[in-house]
Every structure is written in C-alpha cells, then in structure tokens.
Symmetry: C2
C-alpha cells in the first residue's frame, strides 16, 4: 500500500514537472523533502551533503572572479571559470537542502556577473581548438559549464524575481545556448558540432536541453533531443542510437564512454523528471544502463582499460558517480552498482539518485560487482567488430586478457587492430600506452593532447599487434581507418578454455592477418596461459614487426644480446619508430626465444617461435620527444621478413617473488619449445612444449567457425590429431 | 596477588630453563600452556596459528628433499633448503601447540636427512661469496638456517629419545656450529666472520648460542656471547655495544638494521628465557628496544628509507614481526608497537611474544605510532655523525625530509655524505636509488648485488649531494671512507623552522663543503618549503655537480633546453657517470633556474641560483648496463666550475592535480628569484623571492652554533638584518 502511494506520488511529481516546477533536473521537490527528512540517518548521504555544503560555504566566502579568457586547460582563467560553475552548482543544491538564502544569493551574484561579462566575449583567443568556446578554449568546456549552471539555476529559480530571471535568461542563457547550438554570428561552426554524433555533441545537447527545461522553453529541449533542425539526424536521441552498439559499447572506447556517460545519464535523468513518457532509460532495450554496465566491465581494479586515447581514470571519477547513482535510480534491482559506490566512490551525488544509492547502502543492500568475460560488439548496428574481455573463472585469480577488434573509434581511436593487453595480480602487465596528454597541465601543451599523441600513442607500433613494413596502417588517417573494421572470427568463454579471434585484411594492402588468442587453464602450470597465434599472409615479402609493450623490469632474454652502452639510436625515423631508443638487439634462437620480466610479485615470460633470422629489439620509449612528453616505457619486439608468417607465442605467468619473507619460487619459464605442426590454410596446430615432458597442443580450425564440427587431421609428422569445435588444447 | 603469582611462576620457569626445560627459546612451557588455554579467543593469534599449522600440514605431506648445493639465492637448491628450515620451524611449533606427533616426526625426519647429508658437504660450489657456506652459497644463510632449526629442535627435544638426540647433535648440530664458528678443517676463515662485528656475526652468534641452549651446552652460549675465544672482543654482547649508537642507529642503516634486528631480538628473547640475570633488554640503557624504535622511525608509509644498500622492505617484513612482538614482550608499556602489528603486519609470531601482542590487541590497547623528527647519532660512541629526519608538526601533512651525515656504513654504505631525500603525500619524491640488486632472482647475477651496485648505486653521483670533479670520493673504497665522517653542525626541530646541517672536509682533498637544510612553514606558501644551502670552498677551481634524483614526470625547465632526439650519449665514462644517458642539456639563467616535475597529485619545483655559465643536464639512468640491471630513473643536475660556490636552492611542493575530478590548481612554482645577500665565511644570508612580492630570507650563522647568540649584520646592499640563534627565516 505504501509503495503504491509512492508510485502515485512520483507520477504526480512527474506530471507537475511538465508545468515547470523547480527544482526538477537532478533534484525534485519530493526528493528534497525526503532528503531533509532523512537528515542524519544515512551516513554516506550525510557525508556527501556535508562535503557539498562545506564547498558551498567556501564559495560563499570567496570574491567572485571572472578572468578574461586566456588560458588552456589547467591555466588560471580556465580553472577559475570551472570553479565558478562548481561553485554555482554547489551553492544551488546547498540552497535547496538548507533553505539558507546566502547560497541562492551567491548563485545569483555569479550569474549576474556573467550577465555583464559574457556578451563582450568573442571566440577564445588561444586558437588551439577547431571549435573554440568563448569562456573556455574549446566549446566542450562551454557545454559542461552549461550543464552545471543549469542545475544551479534550477535550484534557485524560485528564489529569483521574474525580472531577475528575464535578465539572466535574455542576456546570458539564451545567447549561451545559441552559441553552443550555432556559434557566433560571424562563425556558425558550432551548428555542425551540436548536430554531430560524438561526446562533444552529447554535452552540448545536454546543456542546451537542461537550460531549456529550467527556462520552460520546450523548443530548446526538442532541439537537444532531435538536433537544431529538429530533423532527428542529430540530437540526443540519435546519439543514443548511433554511439552505442546493442551491447552498450561506445565507439570511442572505455575512456571516452566514461566521459560521455556523464552527460548521457545526467540529461537522461533530467528528461526522466521532465517527461516520463519518453521512457528514456528503457529506450533501445535500456541502452544507457547497458552502457553503464559495459563501462564497469571495461575496467581492471576499478581503473578503465587504456585503449584509444585513455588517461588514468576509474570508478572513482566524478562521471562514474553520476553514472552509478543515476543507473541505480533507474534500475534499483542492480544491487552490484551499490558496491561500486561503496568500495570505490565513497560518495554519492547530492540528488534524488545519490540519495537512493546511499539509502540502499545504509540498508546493507550492496552486492559484489561480478566482473566476467564479455564480448562487446561495436557499431550502431553492432556489426563493426568487437572488444573482447576474457577473465578467469577462478575468483582467486585477478586477471583479464583483452582483445581489440573494434572499429577505429573516431578521432580518439588508435591504429591498433587485433592488439591485446593483459592485466594480472593488480598490475597492467602487457600494456597499452593510452593517450599522450597531461590533462589540465598548462606547461604541457596547454593540457591538450601533445603532438606525440599522433606521432606515438596512436601509431601501430605503440600497440601489441602486427606492424607491416614499419608503417602505421591507413597512413595514420583516422577517417580512412574508420571506413573498415576487423572481422571477428570466433569467441568462446568456456571455463578453462576461452578464446577470441579476428581477421584483418583491409588496412595493409595485400596483407591479411588473423589472430587467435586463447586463455587456458593448463593442468601443469601455476597460472592460466595465454596462447597467441598471429598468422600473416601476403603474396609478397614484407617486414613483420610484433611489438610487446609491458610494464616491469627486464629479467632475461633466452638468447645472447648486445646492449647499447655508450650511445643509443632510434629504431626508425617515422611511424612511431622514431620515438623508440634501441636498448638492445639480438637474433632469435632456432626454435623458440623467450623473454622474461618482473611485474610486482610475479614473473611473466613470452616465448615465441623464432629462427636465427628473426631479429629481436629491446627498446625504450622517449626518443624524438623534444618536450619530455612521453613516459619512459619498455618494449620487446620480434621482426620477421617473410611473405607468410605465423607468430606462435605464449605468455606464462609464473613464480612468486616475495621480498617481505624473502621467498621466491618458479622464477624460470616453463616453455621449452614451440612447434608449428600444421599451417595449411584450414587449420593451425601448434605444440607448446614445457619442462617435465609436458605439452599443450593448440588446434584451431581457421576455415570456418563451426562449434560442432569434428576435426581429425593427419599431421605432416604422421601423427593424427582430432578435436571438436573451432579450437581445443590437448595436454600431455 | 594474581600478578605476584605470575611473576613468581615466571621466575620459576626461568630458573628451570637453566636446567634445560623445553621449549625455552621463543616459546616457553608456560607460554604454550596459556596459548592453548586461550585458543579461539584471540583473533590475531588464532589466525597466525592457523596459518602456521596449515603450513606445517603442507610440510608434513611433502616428501623430504635435500638437493645437492648448487645455486645462489633464488635458485632451486637454495630455496629448497630454505623451505626445509621453515618446514622444521613450523612443524616444531605446531607440535607444541597441538601435541600432534606427526609434526614432531616430520622435524625428526628432516633432521635425520640432514644427519646423512651434511657431513659429506664441502664448501658450496658457487664461489661467489668470500665466506661460502656448505648448504648455502654464503655462510650468512647457513646461520639463518641454524637459528630456525634450533627453534624446531627445542620444540621437539622432549619427544626425541636420548639416542636420537645424541645422533643429531653429534652428526649434525655440533659440526654445524663448529662450521659457523670456524669453518672446515682446511679453511678456518669463519673464525674471523664469527668474531666480526656486523650482521653476519649476529646471525652466526644467534645460531650457535641458540643451538647451545637447546643442547644444554652452555659453552656454546658463552662463545656466542663473548666470541669464540671468550675474550669479549667479539660475540653478541660486544655487537650490542659496537653496532648501535646510543640512539639505536645501526651503522649500516635502516635496511640492514631491519635484517640485523631479527637475530638481535630473537637471540635476546632466547637469552631472556635462558638467563634472566643477563637483563639483556636493559643492557646499555635498553639499546635493543631503542634500535627497534629507531628502525620504525626510519620509515615512510611503513617502508624503510632507501639509503645505503636498501631494497623495498617495510614494517610488514617478517623480521619486523619478530622485532615488534619481542620488543613489546620486553616492554609492554609501548602500546604504539601494537598499532604496527595491527596496521602493517596483521600477523604475530607464534611465540610467547606474539601471543602477548595479539592478546593486547584483542583488548584494544593499540596506540598510534608517533612518527616525529629525530636525530640519530651514528657510531659505537655516538660521535660518528648523524642521520636526521625532519617531519612536519601538522598531522595533515604526510612528509619527511632526511639528511645523511653518518659514517660510511661499512661494506653496505654508499658514498653519499650530506645527501638528502624528500618524501611527501605517499611518494618518495627526491629519491635515493638504494641497492642495485634483484634479491633471490637467480637470472640476475644469482640474486646477489649486481656489478652496478658498485659502479652506480654506491657512487656519489647517484645521490643528492655534491660531486667534485666527477669523482666518487675516496675512490669508491669503503674502508677508506669508513675512516672519517661528516661533522654535524647544528640541528633544530622547532615547530615551523626545522634544520639539519653538517660539514664535510675530508673526502675530497682540498675541498670543504657544508650543507644547511631548512624545512620551514612559509606563511604564504601552500606546503612547507625546503631551503637548501650547499656551500663549497676550495683554493682551486673544480667542477661541482649537484644532482637531484627524483621520482615523477618532467613538467618544465625554466630555461630553453636541447633534447637528444635521435642519438643519446652518456654523461661520462666512469664514477657512475657512465650509467647516465644525457636526455637534455641547457645553460642556467642569470639568477635562478627552476625545474618542475609531477609526482602523484602534486607538483615539485626545485629552484637554484644559477648563471649562464651554469650547465644543466637532464639525464636518465641505464647506460653501460649490459645486463639490464638498472632501473630507468630520471635525474636533474646542475654543474658549476668554481673554487668557492654556494648552491642556494629551494624545493617547493605545490599544486593539486586531480584527474578524478579534473581539477588542478597552483601548478606553477612561486619562486621567482634567489639572491645571495651575504656569504662572508661567518654567515650566509639568502633571499628567496616569490610571486606576490613575498620573500623568505634565510639567515644562517655558520661560524659557531650558539643557539642564544644574537646576530645583527649590515649587508653589502646596505640593508641591516638581525636574528637570534643559528638560523632563522624572515618572511615578507
């Protein structure tokens, strides 16, 4: 009966929202009433409110400062205007929760200052962005400002006189929204930006839609939903269709999904309050909630995986607080979201959604987040490749193997098709550089992506995948790369034998390559083994480089090598190679070459089939980097010159290196040799031999991915081998 | 009344011990009775017992394996024999606590195996140590084996027949003790090792003394206490006199104190049970407890500071569990020890001492560890220099500045006089390389110190101190360096203005240098400032290099620089310089040159007075390192050519760089210029000018350290300046 009343009540509230009740964006009148009633009884909410009010108190004390726009990210003018919107946001909400007029007055005073300040601004003078803002160096930040300020305005709306509102709307918010939708009269470049289908446009539509709701201007809301021409070719609803696959994968990858999800959930939350009939959280089979789930899965130890233009961000980022709280508010049956809030965020939004999360946590409703293997298709129609995560079933292991066979990922994508990465025991072990950027640090190219983001971070050689003839594919042009994507072949997440695979034949003319990545529990090894077959085919000879970027300290190479001692040179002149110092060179052994490094308390050994003609390079990043923008990181590379070639590798995780008790064990790799037993175009059979007369024979049927097919083959050696399905591993 | 009975009882037990009751080393009969009675009621003890018994159970299951000695640290034979003593130790104690015969049988069986195995052994074949063992590559490990095995034998003594004991003692323990005291008949080199005064000898005497106690052979105990000739020139009691200063500083530094404290407290605990009248924990004003306290202080975030031959070790190391438990047992009034056990160790010894700690913890008696500034004199007579730690008074800050003006530190010392280090916000910010060693990793020079430990880690340029003419002082000979030590000048730990200083004039012929390191709360700066005056004097011109080793990413240098882009060379040919790649070069500015880097979420800027003749080098470690033994770490260096020179620097901690909320502030250094106002042999007056027209004028009276002297000086500029005491900072 109680629940029924609550539903009725909330329907009533939603209805009232259409009639422009305030607040009604992230907070509602009813929500505020409940928060006030519960004061002192919900620890995490009380703590979050306390922090917000203390920040609002700081804001109230401070003089208002609107510096002339001048700096990039991290610079004084940039950070001051950022502080201004945070101050308004905090004060607006503080006013709702306390009723203390001083907070509302501060919001009004800051708004009044912008009323005086804003009209005089031309485009930002820095000139580093193709879409400059007026207050900020790029329009993106201009949109973020509006999202926060709309919330603040919503909170103080009722406390302002009609005249005050008229002034601030006509002198500030309407021109501001127009700027974001179109630009300035002499340059309407923002029209395209606003109607674009990427995260900038999401912020832009969220800002415009939210201020439209507060001002009671439904036409702005409709433009935000359907594009500035209302055609539906752009706008928030179209973004929801286009930017995610059916699996919730965001085409720019985890790092930008983290950023994009913020305006997505924020605006969706406001829309849900504004017009329940939109059913915004149910649209496209609940795509926004799927996106939040996919995002949480694409993380290791709470940090987002580093592919594409990624920096260090994780569950504790403020965007994720919004994502988790609002997703839980929309779907309170997912109790695992609560554990993310509890374990990583320790904070909730001061909003209806955050209140829900904190209340559920105070009732002990949190359930652990279940990180599992996953196959995330890319593309509007879910047909543009996939991002694959393989995780162990044993919960005592803390590992993840990722395989990237997605589409390019727009302007933030890297030229990294069929790359993989490996996380284990709390560390990123086989790594992706992510982005070359010092966000907000003015001294580093104004906080923007540095030149090395193009010249290194995006290059093919910066990834754990094939580089043909020392070139980044598609000549490093993302629009070209965006036209095609790899073809996933087969994946399986069976316990004990997981697999991901794909083929790429469109980026290097005349070269086709397929990768079969297997993650297997091997009965005679300490930890699961990664088996990696990379088969390249061409009618002509090429140079095939297979780099492996890792995190840790080099322990040993199984062949003699020559280390640069007094002078060091670069590996090449361009395509990323100019950034690599060659620390050591060697030739492969006849059979197998192994490289071992130490990361944390474990050893990792990659073993690869080689011949004495194979060239080995051990490199370190940092050359051709005049401004110290690159991190100093190690790389191991195998170079083959051939037309057809099979790179057959395995990565062992082994050993225990515990300095605290000075005990170590199993520090030496087990793989002794690798034999390619069959490579006939229809199947690959590779035998990995280990100490103790053990072996693991990986059999992959490469001709067609039929899970039920039974294969029985005579190997050139005379041995007969049989398996069922696409792939199997036979142990001895 | 109860307490009185307990004392009586313990006196009785102690008396009985002389009559060879068992167990009586780390456990006593009465202790075991209490542990059994408390079973299930003291969580941390129960957990520790459970772990020990589970390990003992594993040991019972395993076949006994005594491989032929062959490998160095980390190698198979080394680790197997280590496991054997841990297995015996665990099984011995498990037998005491459970009475289950299977554990005693396992100990007896392993001992029996050694009875058969041991007599046939010559010196270990590896030949890497000047004092090889028989089972292990160095006698040190041989002694550690005996310490553990003595405990095991003590635990099972009563369960063995007289005949069994006779066999194991005559065939194994007595020859073993003789080997440690003297060596083998054809090489008696161990006699010197046993009577030496260093941590090897501490382990050796502990092992021999403990097995003597168990066997009831007091003559071995006396040799352990007074040296093998009973003269008292060597032995444990003499070690207690010589190896620590009155402040508990161990001459080899924190890392080796961590190791040495283990046999010290272990043997002391056994001696305390064996002969209370020795008053072992009260000797020399409680020197062993002082040493434990000094050790805990020489740590940052629970990790020991990295000077001398240090690796990563901290409070959680097994040695510290012994140190903390046994120190608490000896002095239960120090409740802060309990918090170390609780917060960092989460484990106690399964012994009388560990039981005490766990019981006190279960009663909630823990008090926080108070880390404070400290002055730790070095040397047997506390007159060989000092190690200084300056910590902020504000408990919201988490920082430490260390200054090293100790004696050399024997064979594990580095050539680092007057070096400093800085820890802040959870990071080592201005660093010491510590040791070049991969402990227990056989692939890395058998786990031994690598060659680069001599050629790099110990070199003067590897430290944050003056290098004259590109040479490591004393030609890198430790015995020469051991003959002298710096002269501490003055130190003060006053709130707001702390200081450490010393002079060195014996290691570089004809060159004298003094360093005045001030750690001050500056009213107009965000965090305390390090002010660093390094004054060098000589009658002839020299090259003076001042390196700064840091941890983090280079953000900016205030002068233009030229970065190596395609080829990189080493900074020099020897004395450690051969290991440095020159990444960039610059000339100083006329006035001040500043260098900023990012560590964690804060910026750090070092500003130094320079002229256009000053040379700046930005380097990276890793050259002339044929086996990849060195870590890749950055260094900033200022080079001056002069006879007299004053390096006047300051290190600012500033800014907030929070990627999670994408906020940053105060990322640019504040120091604008540095003026040397007076440098006349009696005083140094240096003015640091900051943005906002602020300045901090550091005045140091260098002629004599009189805390009460009042100084009033006319500066060459005409300004008059006055202060009281050795040093002061005047703020504007």
């Amino acid at each position: 009966m109680k629940r029924f009343t609550a539903i009725l009540l909330s329907l009533f509230v939603a209805g009232a929202a259409m009639a422009a009740e305030h607040p009604n964006l992230l907070l509602t009148k009813e929500g505020v009433r409940q928060m006030k009633a519960a004061k002192g009884s919900i620890p995490l909410f009380d703590k979050s409110v306390e922090k917000l009010i203390s920040e609002a108190d700081d804001a109230v004390q401070k003089p208002i400062c609107l510096p002339v726009p001048k700096d990039g990210g991290g610079g004084y003018s940039h950070e001051m205007h950022k502080l201004n919107y945070y101050d308004m946001y905090n004060c607006g909400i503080a006013f709702q929760l306390t009723g203390n007029k001083k907070y509302a007055d501060k919001v009004k005073a800051i708004l009044a200052a912008y009323v005086d300040f804003y009209p005089s601004l031309d485009f930002h003078p820095l000139g580093l962005s193709g879409n400059p803002g007026r207050i900020f160096w790029q329009t993106l930040n201009e949109s973020v400002f509006l999202v926060h300020t709309a919330v603040a305005y919503d909170c103080v709306y009722d406390s302002m006189s009609k005249k005050e509102r008229k002034t601030v709307e006509e002198k500030f918010f309407r021109p501001y929204a127009d700027f974001i939708m179109h630009g300035l009269p002499h340059n309407r470049a923002n029209t395209q930006m606003f109607n674009n289908l990427n995260n900038w446009a999401t912020w832009a539509t969220a800002g415009v839609g939210m201020i439209g709701m507060v001002m009671g201007d439904d036409s702005l809301v409709q433009k935000a939903l359907k594009g500035s021409d209302l055609s539906g070719k752009g706008g928030f609803l179209r973004q929801m269709e286009v930017l995610f696959s059916e699996d919730g994968y965001f085409t720019e990858g985890a790092y930008y999904l983290r950023y994009a999800i913020w305006p997505f959930v924020t605006f969706a939350q406001c829309l849900d309050h504004y017009d329940k009939s939109l059913n915004i959280f149910s649209r496209r089979d609940g795509i926004l909630l799927k996106a939040v789930d996919a995002l949480l899965q694409m993380a290791y130890e709470g940090e987002f995986m580093h592919f594409n233009d990624a920096l260090e961000k994780g569950y504790s980022a403020q965007e994720l607080i919004s994502a988790v709280d609002i997703a839980y508010h929309a779907n309170p049956s997912d109790k695992s979201l609560l554990s993310v809030a509890e374990k990583y965020q320790k904070k909730v939004l001061v909003s209806d959604a955050g209140f829900d999360v904190a209340r559920a946590l105070s009732k002990g409703e949190a359930e652990p987040l279940n990180l599992h293997s996953g196959y995330y298709r890319d593309g509007e129609n879910s047909d543009m490749g996939a991002f694959v995560i393989m995780r162990p079933y044993k919960k005592t292991l803390n590992s993840a193997v990722t395989f990237k066979a997605t589409s390019h990922g727009l302007a933030h994508g890297h030229f990294d098709r069929l790359t993989y990465a490996y996380y284990d025991n709390g560390h990123e072990v086989i790594t992706d550089y992510g982005a070359a950027r010092f966000l907000n640090i003015e001294a580093k190219y104004n906080g923007h992506y540095t030149h090395e983001n193009e010249s290194w971070a995006k290059s093919t050689v910066a990834h754990n995948t094939l580089v043909v003839d020392g070139k980044t594919y598609c000549k490093g042009k993302w629009r070209k790369a965006q036209e095609t994507w790899p073809k996933p072949y087969y994946h399986s997440f069976k316990e004990g034998l997981q697999m991901a695979s794909a083929t790429e034949d469109q980026v290097y003319p005349g070269v086709s390559y397929s990768r079969y990545l297997v993650y297997a529990d091997v009965p005679f090894l300490e930890y699961p083994l990664i088996m990696d077959l990379l088969k390249v085919k061409s009618s002509e000879e090429h140079q095939y480089d297979l780099p492996l970027h890792y995190n840790g300290h080099m322990i040993s190479l199984s062949v003699p090598y020559k280390k640069a001692t007094e002078t060091m040179h670069t590996l090449g002149k361009d395509n990323g190679y100019q950034h690599l110092w060659v620390e050591a060179e060697a030739n492969g052994a006849d059979g197998v070459t192994s490289y071992t490094w130490l990361t944390g308390h474990r050893m990792y050994s990659v073993s690869t089939n080689t011949s004495p003609r194979s060239e080995i390079k051990i490199c370190r990043l940092g050359a051709s980097d005049p401004d110290f923008n690159l991190r100093s990181e190690p790389m191991y590379l195998i170079r083959e010159k051939a037309s057809d070639h099979l790179f057959a590798s395995c990565v062992e995780t082994h050993g225990k290196y515990d300095l605290q008790v000075e005990q170590s064990a199993n520090l030496v790799r087990s793989c002794k040799s690798i034999e390619s037993l069959l490579d006939d175009g229809s199947a690959l059979v590779v035998r990995y031999n280990f100490i103790g007369e053990h072996s693991a024979t990986l059999c992959v049927w490469t001709a067609s991915a039929d899970e039920n097919a039974v294969h029985s083959l005579s190997l050139p050696s005379g041995e007969t081998i049989g398996w069922k399905g696409v792939a199997d591993v036979l142990y001895k």
